[in-house]
Amino acid sequence: MLSNFAYVQPQSLKAALKQLETPEARLHAGGTDLLGCLREGIFGAKKIVSISGLNAFKGVRETSNGGLRIGALTTITQVERHPAIRSRFRALSQGAGEVASPQLRNQGTIGGNICQKPRCWYYRGEFHCLRKGGERCYAVGGENQYHCIFGGENCFIVHPSDTAPPLVALEAVVRIVGPQGTRSVPVSRFHVPPSEDFRQETVLAPDEMVTEIILPPAPSGLRSSYRKVRARRAWDFSLAGMALAITFKDNTVQKARVVFSGVAPVPWRSKEVEVAITGRRLDKETVARAADAAVREAEPMEKNGYKISLLRGVVEEELLAAQSGESPG
């Protein structure tokens, strides 16, 4: 069924990095996405490098300045339930809680979640599409009801992660370790849009790995939330969703980061909504204007026009809730 591969379980970061130098080595965290990809023949593997032995990257720690360091191997359930994340970075806890199903949240890791492969059904199916090295994108003129309305070019996937949009909204940074050492990349620049490279989902090189995700301290007055709409009520990816991180002062939006899920190939920051609400109270008028702004640049495909009204609805609902403090962060 699967191609033949070696399986290693290094016990140190150094050993893991060494193993990753093998061509066609695949990093294995929780395996919930990786095994599916291998089974579906999306890519092969010569060596599976399990990093489940790297205990240093499990769990959540406070940083000296009031932020958090989340180890890449922290499970999604742990992220969802962690008290500090719940109280100070609620969007992330909510995003983690919206992922897949309880079983997948228990097994899947936050590192794996932001590195997961697209869910486009052509990509996952028996189609040698552009992203897999083929000639064309089958979603164009095809069954594109679950594809993007923003940022599509060459390839029209939506980014599947529910944790990445809150991380972008909360200005989190990814720590990446590779043979050349360590580098830090904001989550907002971690994912690669197809306009830049339609073969690559993240900035990671094959021999690099994510070790930690760092959340800067939450400013006072921060309210953050994540809202996701899906076709059924559980175990389903986002049709349209929004992570919000708003700093209020005297009930006025001082600063806002608005990031959509389910509508673009990468977590999609909506500068339009941010501009429409910054410096204002989130009254009905502002919210309506923000909802208009949210979808102004949208370019729906033949079968996903519904995402426009859906996204409008999400934006309206969440902004009104943010003002009323119903989703405090």
């Binding site: 199903s101 089958y138 069954e143 076709a231 519904y306 009204s309 609805g313």
Partner: protein, 776 residues
């Protein structure tokens, strides 16, 4: 259990049902001790603990694993099959294809349309091309992938709406119509519309749903000399036997099919598949047992579906709520072979409500897609989707409560059948009235009408009704019941328990009649080698078919015991009766003998009772009825829907086991939620024609959160002594017929948007909501 102490028979003094004279039918039970109570499954422990052996659990020495190579195109001709590389692979023991002499057999898609098992023209994605037997499942599937096939890929049509266009590719040389459009008509529809005060017309569509039972489709086949043994996950071992015998040209007696446990079928396992025959051929060639269970992906392509239905309905009603005319048409497709693409879709339009003027037209077409198989209440949920939404709209148009409108149109006889035969009972009115009361229909409608909107959330209630065209059961059924000398019982029955609790219900019937504990009843069933002929379990007919035969077999046992007692007590049989664990004389309780002390029983060691299913009442129709009510809460900004609660009021005659009854109601509603809200087969219509969501994640079944935890089963138990000698009618299908329509009606009530196409979820509803004129 301490049998010695309490005796296997129940405590003394319990009433035992009367024993009719030989040749006479018993009266319906008046009071019951066992039947109708809540009896947990007799095999519950085995099923839950994992010790129950399902066909897919079996494993035999030297067993090989089969895998099937399937055509990846919706329409293609096979030019060449090169198995050379695959043959060299480790563990591979046999490869069969059209070139294999043993595999040159005909597969009957219908009695009139037979094709080669490995046909050189594959008319749907997933059609079998070749098959492998290897030592491990992985070797088998690797070898399948190594077979090199050259296809001539042909143009295809997968959408039934396009299949009738003149330039559509032809699925079969004679064209894409399965037959001429089927017409039905009664009365004068034009006149009916003239008499109406309100006439409405609407188009509706339900999407294609795929069969996805828990246990995959497949079997384990092995030969014992010239006897072919098959453990198959099936709803009917005898149906598998006859088709396999036909295809392989074997006597029925040389095909033994066993399927004691099975993990769900819902209509898709009423028949064997090509996989059954392929396993048998591979087993023959290799001389080893071959286990061939499909992968989930394969089952999505080739084990059947509920076809999509494209419907139009025009309806007329008078101001006082009398239906005057119904004009209905449907276009559907059973896929690439005749499979009832529009079967029974018009039945409810023809028969559910009193209406003198009705016309229907059904057009079944071929498409290059997997053939349909019967799917829980074939045709009915689709028809209900149209008819029951129309009834809701008519009620609104004449400003009448939807329940009240239906109550004005209750038939006591079947209008669609020749001669208008009466129903033995029709519980439709009772389901409507009592169900509405139990649900709080009027109260909730008033509350909702008075409610102020809560942000973007709206509540709504909806209901829909149904009958099921069958569900009366019928002959044949033969049951053999053995009472051993210690009072324990062996029940021998050919029917399968497809998870519905058939065994439990039959044990309860035996317990009721013989006054024995269900724990001492051993059931042998679903084995063509050792149990009696039975029709497959389906059509909501298993209980009304088998239970009367079981009751008769038990009575036959009792008659023989009475004769033994008469001899022993030197009395006349007609003076004897059962009381507790004994047979007593007249009113003289002193003159008695306990069953275990019957000399005749001790001597013979066993009493064998045989029971047959008698005929159905002549000139009458036995159908179950049902009505469902639900409340939804929806977000009018996003189109998200939460089902608040559901109530199913079902009239299916006598409730045999309250637990299995409620199980059906909850399961049926769950499945109906799938049709109404989540399930769609997605074919790559504009591109490859392939199915894009053939897995359990992209094909969306309802999850626990999509189904309300608040579901109520509300049986309407009308005595139906004419139906059969147990008074039970079928239940398994009516429970899923009205669900989707009830949800659509509740959504309309909540937000004023009429969802004429499934599925109702944010991908469709959101757009409808934003297109809707803004509320005042």
């Amino acid at each position: 259990m301490k049998n010695e102490e309490k005796g296997i028979y129940f405590a003394e003094g319990l009433a035992v049902p009367e024993t009719p004279e030989p040749g006479k039918d018993p009266k319906p039970w008046k009071e019951t001790n066992v039947v109708g109570k809540s009896r947990p499954r007799v095999d519950g422990y085995e099923r839950v603990s994992g010790s129950a052996m399902y066909p897919s659990d079996y494993s035999l020495p030297h067993m090989l694993f089969g895998a099937v190579l399937r055509c990846p195109y919706p329409n293609a001709k096979i030019k060449r099959v090169d198995t050379r590389k695959a043959e060299q692979m480790p563990g591979v023991r046999a490869i069969i294809s059209a070139a294999t002499p043993e595999a040159r057999v005909l597969w009957p898609y219908t009695p009139h349309m037979k094709v080669e098992l490995f046909d050189s023209h594959c008319r749907f994605e997933g059609e079998a091309v070749a098959a492998v037997a290897a030592e491990t499942p992985y070797q088998a599937s690797d070898a399948v992938r190594a077979i090199d096939v050259t296809y001539e890929v042909l143009p295809f049509v997968t959408d039934e709406r396009k299949a009738m266009l003149s330039d559509a590719p032809k699925v079969h040389p004679a064209g894409n119509r399965v037959g001429p459009t089927e017409h039905y008509s009664r009365g004068d529809v034009a006149k009916g519309f003239e008499e109406a005060d309100v006439v409405l017309e609407e188009s509706y569509r339900t999407e294609c749903e795929i069969h996805t039972p828990m246990e995959l489709h497949g079997c384990l086949a092995y030969w014992d000399g010239d006897l072919l043994n098959i453990h198959e996950s099936t709803q009917g071992v005898y149906a598998v036997q006859s088709k396999v015998a036909e295809v392989l040209d074997l006597p029925l007696s040389k095909v033994r099919v066993m399927g004691r446990y099975m993990g769900g079928g819902f209509g898709s396992k009423l028949q064997p598949g090509k996989y059954t025959v392929i396993a048998a051929i591979l087993a023959k060639i290799t001389g080893c047992p071959v286990k061939l269970f499909l992968t989930r992906e394969e089952t999505y392509l080739c084990t059947g579906n509920r076809p999509a239905s494209n419907m139009k309905l025009k309806a007329g009603v008078t101001k006082d709520g009398r239906l005057t005319a119904l004009d209905f048409s449907v276009v559907g497709s059973g896929g690439a072979y005749p499979a009832g693409g529009t079967l029974l879709v018009d039945w409810l339009v023809k028969d559910l409500y009193l209406c003198p003027n009705v016309r229907t037209a059904a057009t079944d077409v071929y498409t290059n897609a997997g053939p349909a198989r019967p799917f829980r209440a074939p045709g009915h949920p689709q028809g209900a989707w149209a008819l029951e939404q129309m009834m809701d709209a008519l009620a609104k148009a004449i400003d009448m409560d939807p329940v009240a409108l239906r109550l004005k149109n209750i038939p006591s006889y079947s209008q669609a059948r020749k001669g208008n035969p009466p129903y033995t009972t029709t519980g439709l009115a009772a389901c409507l009235k009592e169900g509405a009361k139990a649900f709080g229909w009027e109260k909730r409608r008033k509350e909702i009408a008075a409610e102020k909107p809560n942000g973007s959330l709206r509540r709504g209630v909806g209901m829909a009704a149904c009958l099921w065209v069958a569900g009366g059961g019928r002959p044949p059924s033969t049951i053999i019941l053995k009472l051993f000398s210690d009072g324990s019982v062996n029940l021998n029955m050919g029917a399968s328990d497809i998870g519905t609790g058939t065994k439990t219900v039959m044990a309860m019937v035996v317990a009721e009649e013989l006054n024995v504990h269900t724990d001492v009843i051993q059931i042998e069933h679903a084995d063509t080698g050792t149990t009696q002929f039975a029709t497959p379990s389906g059509g909501s007919k298993t209980v009304p078919t088998e239970a009367p035969a079981v009751r008769r077999a038990a009575i036959h046992v009792k008659q023989q015991l009475l004769e033994m007692a008469a001899e022993q007590l030197k009395a006349d049989v007609s003076d004897l009766r059962f009381k507790g664990n004994a047979i007593v004389h007249g009113n003289d309780d002193a003159k008695k003998v306990t069953i275990k002390d019957l000399k005749g029983l001790k001597k013979r060691g066993v009493v064998v009772g045989v029971g047959y299913r008698g005929p159905n009442p002549e000139g009458k129709v036995v159908n179950p009825f049902g009505v469902q009510f639900c409340e939804v809460e929806m977000d009018i900004r996003t189109g998200e829907i939460r089902i608040v609660d559901f109530l199913g009021a079902n009239e299916s005659g006598r409730v045999m086991d309250r637990l299995t009854f409620d199980n059906q109601v909850f399961g049926g509603i769950t499945m109906g939620i799938g049709l109404g809200m989540t399930e769609v087969r997605v074919l790559d219509e504009g591109g490859s024609g392939k199915m894009l969501n053939k897995n359990w994640h992209d094909y969306k079944l309802p999850t626990a959160l999509d189904v309300s935890p608040r579901m109520t089963s509300f049986p309407i138990e009308l005595p139906d002594p004419e139906a059969n000698i147990t008074g039970a009618k079928g239940l398994g299908e009516p429970v899923t017929i009205p669900t989707a329509a009830a949800i659509a009606n509740a959504v309309y009530h909540a937000c004023g948007v009429r969802m004429t196409e499934t599925p109702i979820n944010p991908t469709r509803l959101g757009v409808m909501l934003s297109d809707r004129p803004k509320e005042a």
